[in-house]
Every structure is written in structure tokens, then in C-alpha cells.
């Protein structure tokens, strides 16, 4: 709305300014025309009356002036003598009247002390309104200078030393001119109003279609997210800034959902910790009474095997309770991990040893696929061992009574620096610069190439942010195997010969970043595969990834979101519901991540990632 208003106001100001200048110049030229006409008239009168003047034939002069003054286009004609007396006039009543020096007809010359004797043409004219409600008039003064013929005339009316003998004053009504100006003003106003009406309609519609709707959708989405619905997604239908905004909004919501999940989980673990501590304290006192009384009775019941057997049950079960409470306390404590450099493979090996016996009973095979070149990570080895034990025990439980395999594999993975690193220089094989400052993608100079596919050629601009996919491939047909990308300067091929995208199989391009190695990428929209070996390998975000896979019963989709919550057991009475919550807490404490992939009836894979510090 504001935008529409702003546009309309700007246009309004522009039109008003334009109309104003237009009318100004129009009225100026009309006035000039009238002025010229008046001046000519004045000269004509002067010439017409000159001979009569010289003959001093006042009656004829009078007659001439009256006759000329009768014309419609003339208001009146007056001749004043030097002392300001109206000698002749087209209005009979004027004759003989004295005109004041300050009157509109006189002040041009008489405004500054000594009267001026010569006036330039534009100073001789004046526009005035005798009464506020009457039409405007244009007056022109024509001074009558002394000439030899005047003082040598027979009448000897004028002495020789007089310069100006009197003035001829002609006034012309501006009624027509004013009417014309008013008409132009009206036309300008009508034009302005109609242009504004049409323009606001068009701008309003455009704003509504291109801005209002998507913004409204964004507002709805924002409200949804604010209301806690982090699963809300915007449909990204467009390629423009608002489309980018929508997709980055979706991205933000994803991140937010993850963060909330983490926070929720940490918070839940923390409150569970406090609860466990409270419960432990409360429960241990009554347990003390039960355990001491029962064990005391057990001691004293020697010789009564029946009683002793029963008491032994009570003692044993109470001791079991004690262990459960102790575990709960251990869980609640979750102290800061005591981290040291450790070999994850070794930890996996120890964990495997611990559960080996359990596995043998269940006929479960344990297959290891450990990467011997795994870098050491800084972890609390005990806690991480606990994690692997938990995961392997879970895997074994998932396999159940039958036969099955647990596969534990470790490897190093690197999370690419996608979306962060900007390619500032890129060259073809002949060292021609490909980063063209003339073209920008997202405000950064793009990597520009020429494409050639089936006789079609054109320029494309690749997003210079490594891993980002905001390429401008306008005008490029859908990719096929025959596509060729070239250096715009020397037409050297920029295709990676004989290689294809490992993700989608499409042809890939390759260019060199001076001193930083080869960058390869797939152009296919939606694929987004990228490789920049030298950067990928140096990048800090390196993780040790351990996958614990089983071919057991799998986890239903509905249970996966609650898997890491305390007391959410899938094992029924067999589980405490704390194993995965503890596991999650430990991995979280190590700034790692744990995720799960599962399919019912096929198996489950837990993926643990622990960061390798540089």
C-alpha cells in the first residue's frame, strides 16, 4: 500500500512540475505575442498621428485615437504630456485628467527619482488588473521623443531642449490569453488525474501480484513458525528475490527445528537429571531401611533355610534396586566429559569385547569395517565406549532370537565448505580469467562461461560461492550429453573430459582457481554436485563417522522422532528407556551428532559423528 502510494505521489509530483513549466512557458509565449501586437499597434498609432501632431491638428488626432480605440482588441489608447496630463484618449472621460507619477502606467520610468528617458522594450510593457475581479490588461508605453521637426514646427509647442515630449499608452485586454492559459491548466489537471488513476491501478495490481501475495504468504509462514509450527514450509515457485527469500526462510525453519530439538532434548535431560537426583535421594532412605532390616534378619536366620531363602530374595532385589538408582544417578550426573585424544577404532574394539558374550548367545555376527587411517579424536573414551555398547546392544536386541549381523564401520568424513567460500579467480586452460566483474550472482562477480549445445550458444554465469547453486543459466536449453562449456575468450573447452557427475551422471565442468586447484561441478539444476579437492581436504569440518548397522526388526517411522527421549523404550519391559537418551547426551557433550535411518523389517543404522579438532 505504501509502495503504491509512494509511486503515485512521485508521479503526481513529476506531472505537476511538468504541467507547471509547460503552462508557464505557454503563457510566456502568448504574452510575448500580445506584447508584439501591442507594440506594433502603438507604433502604428504613433505613425498615424505624427503628421497631425506636427500640424497640431488636435481634432484629427483625437478622431484617430478614438477610432482606433474602438476596436475590440484594444482597451484604450491615451497620450499623456510631460506633466502627466492626459491630452488624448479613446475614453472621452479621461481627457484632461492628471495621472499620478506612481500610477501603474508611469512608475517604470518615475520610480527612481529622476525619470528615465529610454526604456528597453520589455520594460515598456506591464500586465495589470485595474479591479481584482476584472480581466487582466497589458499596457505598453511608447515615449514620444522630441525631434527637429517638433521644435521647428509651425506651432512651436515644444522647446528644443526637451527630450521626451509625452507618452503614448496603449492597453490591450488579456481575456483571450487568460482563457487559453486556463484551458491548458484544465487539460494538465485532467491529464494528471487520469495518468495517476491508471498508474495506481497498474502499480497496485503489480504490487499485489508480485509483492503482496508472496509477502502475505511469508507473513502467514512467519506467524505459523512463531506459533511453534516449525514444520511449516513455503512453496518456492519463483526464481526471483522473493523466491530466494522463501527458500532461505525454509532453510531457517529447518535449522530452527533442529536447534529446538537439541534444546528440548538438553533441557529434558537436565530436568530429568534433577529429577533423578531427587528420586535417588528420596528412594535411598527407605531402601536403606529395607536393606538393613532384611540383611540383618538374613544374618540372624541361620538354621532356618526356608526363611533364609525368602530373605535372600528381598536382599537381592533390594540390591538390584540400589543398582538401578545408582545408574539413574550416574545418568543424572552427566558430568563434563573428561576428554583425551583417543583412537575411535580402539574404543569400538573394547566395546565389542564387552558385548561379545551376549552376541555369541544370540547367534549374532559382528562385522567390523574400520578405517585404519582414522584420525584420533578428543573424547571421553569411557563415555564413547558406553555409546557403542548401547548401540551394539540395541542392534543385538533388534535382531532378537534369530540370526543376524551387526556391522560396525568407521571412516573419516568431511563436510564441504559449501556456501561459505567465494571463488574470486578462475581461469581456463589458457589462463584467461573467467570471473567477470560485469556479471554478478547474488551481488558477487560471477564465473562466466559460454555454452554451446546443438547450435545454440550463449553466456552463463555461475554462482561464485562454492557449493551454492544460484547459477544464472538463462537461455540455456536443458542439459544433454552434447553440451560444451567454453572460455568466452578463447573458446577452450571447460568440460571435464571423460568424467561425469557421480551423483546424477550429467557432464561436468572444470576450471582452475590459481594456486588453489581444480574446481569441478555439475550444471544440472537440482543436482548441485561440487568438488574442490584442495579445499575439501583442508577444510576443518572433519568428522569421524561410526555407523552401527543391523538387519533386525527396524523402527517404525512414528517412533523415530521420540527415539532419543528419556523413557521412550521400544523394548517394552526389557528396556529402561535411558540408553539412547544417555547416548544422545554423551554425543551432544562431544559436539557430535547422532542420527538414525531405519526401515521396518530391513534394519536400522545409527550414525554417530564426532568432530576431529584441527
Amino acid at each position: 500500500m505504501k509502495l503504491t502510494l509512494g509511486v503515485v505521489l512521485t508521479v503526481l509530483v513529476a506531472i505537476v512540475a511538468f504541467a507547471w513549466f509547460n503552462i508557464q512557458s505557454q503563457s510566456r509565449s502568448l504574452l510575448a505575442e500580445v506584447e508584439r501586437h501591442a507594440s506594433q499597434l502603438s507604433e502604428a498609432v504613433k505613425a498615424d498621428t505624427e503628421s497631425d501632431m506636427l500640424r497640431n491638428d488636435r481634432e484629427r488626432i483625437h478622431e484617430s485615437i478614438r477610432r482606433i480605440g474602438q476596436q475590440d482588441s484594444i482597451d484604450r489608447i491615451r497620450i499623456l504630456n510631460k506633466s502627466g496630463e492626459i491630452i488624448y484618449s479613446s475614453e472621452e472621460s479621461d481627457i484632461g485628467r492628471m495621472v499620478d507619477k506612481d500610477a501603474e502606467a508611469c512608475y517604470r520610468c518615475h520610480s527612481e527619482g529622476a525619470p528615465l528617458e529610454h526604456l528597453v522594450s520589455e520594460d515598456r510593457t506591464r500586465v495589470f488588473q485595474p479591479q481584482p475581479d476584472s480581466a487582466r490588461l497589458l499596457g505598453i508605453i511608447n515615449p514620444i521623443y522630441n525631434a527637429p521637426s517638433c521644435w521647428s514646427a509651425a506651432c512651436h509647442a515644444h522647446p528644443e531642449d526637451q527630450t521626451v515630449l509625452g507618452v503614448l499608452d496603449v492597453t490591450i485586454p488579456l481575456t483571450d490569453v487568460d482563457r487559453n492559459i486556463r484551458r491548458s491548466q484544465m487539460a494538465a489537471v485532467i491529464l494528471a488525474v487520469s495518468v495517476i488513476a491508471v498508474l495506481s491501478l497498474i502499480v497496485g495490481l503489480m504490487v499485489r501480484w508480485w509483492i503482496d501475495r508472496p509477502v502475505q504468504e511469508l507473513v502467514t509462514a512467519t506467524r505459523n513458525v512463531a506459533g511453534g509450527n516449525l514444520a511449516y514450509r513455503l512453496e518456492v515457485k519463483r526464481d526471483d528475490e522473493l523466491g530466494a527469500l522463501a527458500s532461505s526462510f525454509n532453510n531457517m525453519t529447518d535449522k530452527l527445528a533442529q536447534a529446538r530439538m537439541q534444546l528440548f532434548q538438553s533441557d529434558k535431560l537436565a530436568s530429568l537429571g534433577r529429577l533423578a537426583a531427587g528420586v535417588a535421594h528420596e528412594i535411598n532412605n527407605p531402601l536403606t531401611a529395607v536393606l538393613t532390616y532384611s540383611s540383618y534378619l538374613l544374618k540372624r536366620s541361620q538354621g532356618k533355610p526356608e526363611t533364609q531363602k525368602d530373605l535372600q530374595v528381598i536382599v537381592n532385589e533390594t540390591i538390584r534396586c540400589r543398582e538401578i538408582v545408582k545408574n539413574l544417578l550416574d545418568f543424572a550426573r552427566q558430568t563434563v566429559p573428561k576428554k583425551r585424544k583417543a583412537d575411535v577404532n580402539e574404543i569400538i574394539g573394547r566395546a565389542a569385547k564387552v558385548i561379545e558374550n551376549q552376541l555369541a548367545l544370540g547367534r549374532v555376527k559382528l562385522a567390523m569395517e574400520l578405517d585404519p587411517a582414522l584420525p584420533n579424536v578428543t573424547v571421553d573414551a569411557n563415555q564413547i565406549q558406553q555409546v557403542f555398547i548401547n548401540l551394539m546392544v540395541n542392534a543385538s536386541d533388534a535382531i532378537g532370537e534369530g540370526e543376524g549381523t551387526i556391522k560396525v564401520s568407521s571412516k573419516t568424513i568431511r563436510v564441504s565448505p559449501a556456501g561459505v567460500l567465494q571463488i574470486k579467480n578462475a581461469v581456463c586452460r589458457k589462463r584467461h580469467e573467467l570471473v567477470d566483474r560485469k556479471f554478478e550472482v547474488e551481488g558477487k562477480p560471477a564465473v562466466t562461461m559460454r555454452f554451446r549445445q546443438k547450435e545454440q550458444t550463449g553466456l552463463i554465469h555461475l554462482d561464485p560461492i562454492y557449493g551454492s547453486q544460484q547459477h544464472q543459466l538463462d537461455g540455456m536449453p536443458p542439459i544433454d550429453q552434447g553440451v560444451e562449456l567454453q572460455c568466452p575468450e578463447c573458446s577452450t573447452s571447460l568440460m571435464a573430459e571423460g568424467e561425469s557427475c557421480p551423483r546424477c551422471g550429467a557432464p561436468i565442468y572444470a576450471f582452475e582457481v590459481p594456486l588453489k586447484g581444480l574446481v569441478q561441478g555439475c550444471l544440472k539444476p537440482g543436482c548441485g554436485w561440487h568438488r574442490w579437492e584442495q579445499v575439501d581436504s583442508k577444510w576443518n569440518d572433519e568428522f569421524v563417522e561410526v555407523r552401527v548397522e543391523d538387519d533386525g526388526c527396524g523402527i517404525p517411522k512414528t517412533q523415530i522422532p521420540h527415539l532419543f527421549e528419556p523413557f521412550a523404550t521400544t523394548k517394552g519391559p526389557k528396556g529402561t528407556g535411558l540408553g539412547l537418551a544417555v547416548t544422545w547426551g554423551i554425543i551432544d557433550n562431544h559436539n557430535g551428532t547422532i542420527t538414525v535411518e531405519s526401515e521396518v523389517g530391513v534394519g536400522t543404522t545409527f550414525i554417530v559423528r564426532i568432530p576431529v579438532e584441527s
Partner: protein, 261 residues
């Protein structure tokens, strides 16, 4: 000052008090029970006790404040700390604050009696040692820790070695109070020990089992094989040949605050 009684139980949970009265009373010990630390302080003012069993988490003064009050009032009595919130920190803090022993709840009658007997004997031994040093004659009833040995209460010791490793063992007072050891259960090399958690269990001739609280956290590098074969070596030479483990300390800095020279 009237007659000497055996045990003062400071505990705000009546069931626990009753259990202690039942078990210790059954052994012929005289037991007095109070519900708060301030009551216990008044009681100790009027009456002498051989041992105090004190809960850590109590209304008003807690167990640690009670220990401080005892020290500032100059009341000398051995204290065993009990708690239902048995964390490692509570254990080491109790011992370093001057408690002779630590008993996590819930406990069996045997565990209670083992700790009570051991504490009573160690307080008797300490008393005997005091009088022996006063008389400047007669032999010490136990061998105190040598200089430079870091002690966790009166239970165990750790000796820092030049290579950054540490040797750990049991104090003679603990062994004497346990009345000797017949068998010794040790951990395995490579295992991680945690300060305040028992790192070995000694069985005395009467069959009672004594957990030896570990003085320092770390990974076991080596076990004293001689001691494994001949547990009596620990009794004979607890500070030198009778060491238990050589460890690589994992967190010596924070462990040190609970240890005394």
C-alpha cells in the same frame, strides 16, 4: 562428662536411624540418635561418643557444616558420613573434610557393621598413636604415610612420579583398622579408575569386605603383580613394595584439591 557411649546417629530419616539402632544395637553397641546437626553438637557437648554416623543432606546444618563446627569447637570424634546422594564428589569431599569413612546408602547390615567396626578401630588406633607420641616411647600402632605422599583421608595414598605417572596404594591405618587382609580383588590394566570410587576390595580374615577408595583418577598402566600373588605384602610394606597400581592420571589438577599431604 558422663560415660562413653558408642555411636551417635545424626539422621533426619527415622527409618534409617531405627535400622542403625537395630543393627549396631544387636552387636551390643550403645546408640544415641538425633535428628539434626545442631542437636548432635549439643549432644557431643554433654556426652562422649566413640563414633558419629552423620547424614550429609539434612535440614539446617548439613554434614559438611557439621564437620566444620566440630573442628572449630575442638570436638575430637571420628565421623562416618552417610548419604543417599552418593556422588563421587560427596565421597571425596567427606574424606578430605576430615571424616574417617564414607558409607553410601542404601547399605546392608554387614556393610554398615564393617564400616562402623573399621571406623571404631581406626579411631582407637589414632588415639593410641596420640598417646604413644605424647609418651615419646613405645611403638606407633600404625605406620603413618611418608612425606610427599598424597592422602585421601585415612584410606589411600598416591605418589606422583617424575614421568607424570602416579603410584597408588592403601594406608597402613586403613589396613590395621580392617584387621589385616586375606584376599585382594584388583582391577585390570587399561581400566580407568575414578577418584572416590573403590578401586580394590580387600577381604579381612573375618570375611568382611573393604572397598578401598581410589585417591586419584586415571588409567591403570601397571598392576603390582607381587601383591596379586601375595596380598600380605600390602600389609607388610604398604607404602613401598605394597603399592597397588601405577596409573596415568587423567585429571590430577582437580583431584589434588581433595588430597592432603
Amino acid at each position: 562428662m558422663s560415660t562413653l557411649r558408642d555411636i551417635l546417629v545424626v539422621e533426619d530419616e527415622p527409618m534409617v536411624t531405627q535400622a542403625v539402632v537395630l543393627v549396631c544395637g544387636g552387636e551390643g553397641m550403645t546408640v544415641t540418635a538425633v535428628e539434626s546437626a545442631s542437636e548432635a553438637l549439643r549432644c557431643l557437648h554433654d556426652q562422649r561418643f566413640r563414633l558419629v554416623l552423620c547424614d550429609i543432606m539434612m535440614q539446617g546444618l548439613d554434614g559438611f557444616q557439621f564437620l566444620e563446627q566440630l573442628a572449630s569447637n575442638g570436638i575430637q570424634v571420628p565421623v562416618v558420613m552417610m548419604t543417599g546422594y552418593s556422588t563421587v564428589e560427596n565421597a571425596v569431599r567427606s574424606l578430605s573434610a576430615g571424616a574417617v569413612d564414607y558409607l553410601p546408602k542404601p547399605f546392608t547390615a554387614d556393610e554398615l557393621l564393617t564400616v562402623v567396626h573399621r571406623a571404631l578401630r581406626s579411631s582407637a588406633l589414632l588415639e593410641a598413636a596420640d598417646s604413644a607420641s605424647l609418651e615419646r616411647e613405645g611403638s606407633m600402632p600404625f605406620v603413618p604415610c611418608p612425606d610427599h605422599y598424597l592422602r585421601l583421608g585415612c584410606v589411600s595414598w598416591a605418589l606422583m612420579e617424575d614421568e607424570g605417572t602416579a603410584r597408588i596404594g592403601v594406608s597402613d591405618l586403613f589396613l590395621k583398622a580392617a584387621e589385616g587382609i586375606e584376599a585382594l580383588e584388583l582391577a585390570e590394566p587399561g581400566e580407568d579408575l575414578l577418584q572416590g570410587i573403590p578401586c580394590a576390595v580387600a577381604t579381612s580374615p573375618d570375611g568382611s569386605r573393604h572397598g578401598i577408595m581410589c585417591p586419584m583418577s586415571g588409567k591403570i598402566l601397571e598392576i603390582n603383580e607381587d601383591v596379586k600373588v601375595r596380598p600380605s605384602l600390602v600389609e607388610k610394606d604398604p607404602y613401598f613394595k605394597g603399592w597397588l597400581y601405577r596409573i596415568l592420571p587423567s585429571d590430577p589438577q582437580s583431584n589434588l584439591q581433595w588430597l592432603s599431604l
